[in-house]
Amino acid sequence: MAPLPGRGLAKGLAVTLRTMTRRSVTAQYPDVQPELPPRSRGVIGLLEENCTVCMLCARECPDWCIYIDSHKETLPAADPGARARTRNVLDRFAIDFSLCMYCGICIEVCPFDALFWSPEFEYAETDIHELTHERDRLREWMWTVPAPPALDPAAEEPKEVAAARKTADKQAAAAAAAREAAAAPAAVSPSPDSAEEQQDS
Amino acid sequence: MEATQAPRTVGRLAQWAAASADGPARDGGYFDAYAAVGLLAVVGVLFVTVAFTANRLMRPVVPTPEKLLAYECGVDPVGEGWAQTHIRYYVYAFLYVIFAVDAIYLFPWATVFAAPGYGAGTLVEMFVFIGFLAVGLLYAWKKGVLAWT
């Protein structure tokens, strides 16, 4: 029981009045672009070159909104003795964004880094059918994908970097050993590969 | 915020008003006052008529059976356009009519009770009158009519 009847009512009035004197939090969107946090889930971009048509994304998609068509192409054998190799060629890659629920599973499961989150969100359409976007559009969005944010200063090294470094270290050690071994006979220049690899990763 | 009309207009209004003075009770003023009220009512009706007519010329007319259905949050209407309601509402209506008749008497009383020749006696008379009704209100309260079931 409030000590004074109506105290709660007065308090409510005070709250609204105080809010009125404060700055409003509205962002004037079309005039002012929102500042989106990194990794915003705006739309899914496709880097076609990385896609091997493994269909993992389409299969894992909970609402089946990814459409992939492909055909096999036979590559002539590189060497005379080798077998001819087949390759999957992507014919169609489309995502129906009227079905997509932005769970990001497709991006997670893609083993070849073909799918990315882009923060782009202004792709509304007046007709729901037009929300099925084909690969050229998905590819355009690829270029809006920002560089991954820098790691925290104290963060653990990413696995890929660690693995690459390990390889590089091993090769460097091997090269050093080789140099030592060949110190007397003839000097072999160190392999340039190791440096290259380290850069790549 | 527009100051209603420009000051000039206000001044003119004041002039007219001064001309008609503030004693509408004078003979003639009475009819003038209510004629003006009636005229305003006519102007209002004209305004609504013009608005509706203009609206009829401007608006599209594309009726479809779905559009003409009763609106019940987007689903098809259930049953008819009537629903059982609690009878309790009706008691308030009774109470109101009775009390409104009572309240009406306050107004002629309010204008005279302080005039010379009335005074405390009239005040007491009114209190007796209101007292009876207050007893009625108390009775209703006691009977639990005012509290909802």
Partner: protein, 247 residues
Amino acid sequence: MTAPVLGPGLAAGPLAAGSLSSQGHSFLSPTGVEIVFVLVGLAVLGAAVLSVTTRQLVHAALWLVVALGGLAVEFLLLTAEFIAWVQVLIYIGSVVVLVLFGLMLTRAPIGRSPDADSRNRPVALGTAAAAAATLVTLVVDAFRTTWVDLDAGTGSARATGSSLFRHWVLPFEALSVLLLAALVGAIVLSRRDGDRTPPRPPRPRPGRAVSAARRTPAAPVAPTATPAAPGTSANPATNPATPPQER
């Protein structure tokens, strides 16, 4: 301003209708007020006739509004200012609202109600004609060609109040008793079972069965005609406001 009495034939506008001087009255040269009075009277008559002849219940109530509103205008024209607004406030603002309210609570179908006509038209017409004839005879006989000067102010609240509290105090007090009786009557009628339920029961504790009469408010939307809130609503047979529940 003093309303100039225009030439009798010219005094058509209501604005010009000011004083009714006692000389020169004639049925052949009516003043503006008189003309308006007759016109409004005809409108009231028409609305009244429509209100009793229409087959649609709610329309009847709405025509009644028109008739009562017209009557208020008639009172105004007779300088009975206070009564006019009482007419609007009480009759239109509460009695008709009460009627409409009752119609809505029970069932007021849109469209014609075939059972709205009691097939007593000749009798009703006869009664109406007889009543009208009596009243008209009475009024005509009482006043004949007397002209009553209508002074603004005779019907004002102040005048009403002074005559009420000078001469009619006792009837006024008696009225309060009458109103109290009506109030009690209304409550008793609408609460047949008032004794069974305590007026303010203790808050129902969880675990204890809530008495049947004190259920939580029946959901306002109850499309089926359940006997709403058992025990509290009036007996349908005794209260006209209760919708027919058992069919």
